[in-house]
Symmetry: C2
Subunit: 436 residues, 2 copies
């Protein structure tokens, strides 16, 4: 036999794996917060707040009746019962939106509606159902059939918020309950972070556009549409850019061509050790993160990493180019999904100001064994089951085959199985990272 | 003392409570499915599918290489080891998107890239890292250093889907994994249910628009914006219609005026026993559900219910008017939230074809006692905590005060505390309905 070259002699296997934690740290260091702007309150749900908002008044702004009935002085009703009701002269009727014209003096009461201001002097509201009304001595009189507790059915002024207290913090995801608070305090226009724009490129000569008929040796590009849906789900705006060219230099030009239109770039495919993996070749030409001590986003272009200790998706790579984060995902759908979930989603959250952009980590009992160990930590797609005993179970979905697209839609969490020579037995408690 | 009228003599307390289950059943019977239409795949994420979609080819469409390396006949490598590699003549190089030009005969191999079609004759792919290549006898030769298992690193044709097998069902919420499948099978345009349009009216003379400065005795309308955000969150399209007039007849006209612009109407406030509760007065004038045996959506206008055995929100009401569902929620923010969550959200899901529109019900251990019993089942807003022991805990949020707007944003589930004379002690396992 003549000359023999190891497949790795050109350095393509020289890729040092870093942990998922470290990869997330580097990606987040490169994920720049987007600018902020104002949107109308009606469009603010699901956006992330760009600054802390404060209560613009005390809340409630006045003592409010919690239900319909009579505003009374509780002391006047201390002995009241159905057999021996307290008879109180009705001095006023206060509607919601109205104002009390008369104070409630001892021996008197005011008819009051839900949400109306409680008149001065009154310290309780008796529900209408516990009263009757009639005339006594020519005067309108309420008969109160139950003793009232002071404060009963009254929401005191300022009970919930003091003027200037925080109602929502920067980076907070605005849920319907936040929207109610913002409306309460008059925020008709809301400062939020702009949606991060993310350019998506696919690589792979086998890829056809979704609308094309199948051709021999070809498949349709499913990763671009999937990643676009993930970007939208997490508040970003995807820009579908089609296919990258074959040559590293042309790839470089295509990425540069995006310019300011995108805040981040995601590519799928071309990161492995194949002869035509242009993305991998391009990234290998950049200075490595380890060569740039004290890396910050002010550093020149850098390969942040090109191997992560995770399965699926170990060739997942990231770089800092043209002042933006480039996330290079594997072309395998399962690895592409996991790579974007673990690295792209936290980046999107951080770009929208989320102060804790990581996944929520919970503990669950494995419903089934996960066979086989792995040299990398495994992120196994699981569905979650809630037992009647109050326990949480994680059920692995098609865990042996990262290419199994069918299970992507069912995944509710990624169960972390640490690297090692064995898998994990049923019943073991594992950490699971919730997908949202 | 002269004449005495019970507060309830005009029938305003004559409201028969039905269970939440029964209220949901009646609301769902009145929730008409919206029409369907097609949207581009890029806009289909988060929508609900209007029909079952099928695999348009087998998948994978051909036997695909799972990684870069050499396609071999496993039998040729049975004795291979690093010390004694199998030497196989390289007959072809197959790129992704290419076609195999030569079959792999005994004693030969083909260089192959991830995603490329495996040539006829080959039954395994050996990863590049376990090979070397050189020249032997003037011919290009692969040295395979490990024995291959038949089928290794090959995704066989049709492994995941048969032609015509179901990939997603009607009413299914399209998550990113579904989008990947739809792309795989060429669905560039996707049949989905139209977003239900929901008109929102507020009632209450104390209400100001969000942009208005506070005035004595007044508060801003926070329910309309909150319900609008909940509608959007669940796939609907809110139409903010402002305030309803004060008089039942005028309310009737306003609701009728919506015509075909809305698929459903939500009102907030005015459903209690107050003297000015126009919504309650209007609803009371309708024939009752119990008076219409075999009620269907073809029945004339009907009061579906005007009291539900739940707390908060017992005055929550619903009617069938002008061929659409009218959901009349309490004006108290906590009760409004719970009423829309328990009744409006399932209706929205059903209108978009969801075959199981109810909440996901889980079991969790109460992290803290819930004091006081209630004549109605209580739906207590809770946050969820996942213990390191794999247990799920429900932590009640400000549970005593349904007006506490601040806790709405934090709620992750509603814990159900059955009616009764006592509350529920810490540690008890309760049913919790997940909010999403």
């Amino acid at each position: 036999m003549g000359s023999v070259n190891s497949g790795g002699s050109d350095g393509r296997f020289n890729r040092r794996a870093i942990t998922v934690d470290e990869a997330q740290r580097r990606v987040l260091a490169a994920a720049a917060r987007t600018a902020s702007g104002h949107v109308p309150l009606a469009a603010a749900g699901g956006r992330r707040l760009a600054q802390q908002l404060l209560a613009t008044s005390v809340w409630p702004p006045f003592a409010r009746a919690g239900l319909d009935g009579y505003a009374v002085r509780a002391a006047d009703t201390a002995e009241a019962s159905p057999q021996s009701p307290a008879a109180l002269r009705v001095v006023d009727t206060v509607a919601a939106g109205g104002l009390a014209l008369a104070a409630v003096q001892p021996g008197t009461a005011a008819r009051i509606m839900t949400g109306a201001p409680v008149p001065p002097g009154a310290d309780a509201v008796v529900m209408l159902e516990q009263t009757a009304e009639g005339m006594a001595g020519g005067e309108r009189t309420a008969l109160v059939k139950a003793a009232a507790r002071p404060g009963q059915n009254v929401a005191p002024q300022g009970e919930e918020f003091r003027l200037g207290s925080a109602i929502a913090g920067p980076g907070e995801l605005l849920r319907p309950g936040h929207i109610a608070l913002l409306a309460t305090f008059g925020y008709a226009s809301v400062p939020v972070y702009r949606r991060p724009r993310v350019a998506i490129f696919a690589t792979g000569n086998e890829l056809l556009p979704v609308e094309a008929p199948l051709a021999p040796g070809h498949i349709r590009d499913s990763n671009s549409a999937m990643v676009a849906a993930m970007i939208r789900q997490h508040g970003g705006e995807p820009l579908l850019c089609g296919a990258l060219p074959d040559e590293p230099a042309a790839v470089r030009e295509a990425l540069r061509g995006i310019g300011g239109e995108a805040d981040m770039i995601v590519t799928t495919g071309g990161v492995s050790v194949g002869d035509y993996d242009a993305m991998a070749l391009l990234l290998r030409s950049l200075p490595r993160y380890e060569e740039v001590p004290g890396w910050t986003s002010a550093s020149p272009e850098t390969l942040l990493f090109n191997r992560v200790s995770m399965r699926p998706g170990s060739p997942t790579s990231a770089a800092w180019m043209d002042g933006k984060l480039v996330l290079a995902l594997s072309g395998n759908p399962g690895a592409c999904f996991t790579g974007f979930e673990l690295l792209g989603v936290p980046a999107l959250r951080a770009m929208q100001g989320d102060p804790s952009p990581y996944h929520r980590k919970v503990h669950a009992q494995l419903a089934r064994e996960i066979g086989k160990g792995s040299p990398h930590d495994r992120y196994v797609r699981v569905s979650l089951q809630y037992g009647e005993d109050g326990r949480l179970y994680a059920d692995p979905l098609a865990f042996g085959k990262s290419s199994m697209t069918a299970s992507l839609a069912e995944a509710e969490a990624l169960a972390v199985i640490p690297s090692g020579s064995s898998g994990a037995e049923a019943g073991r408690i594992v950490e699971a990272w919730l997908l949202t």
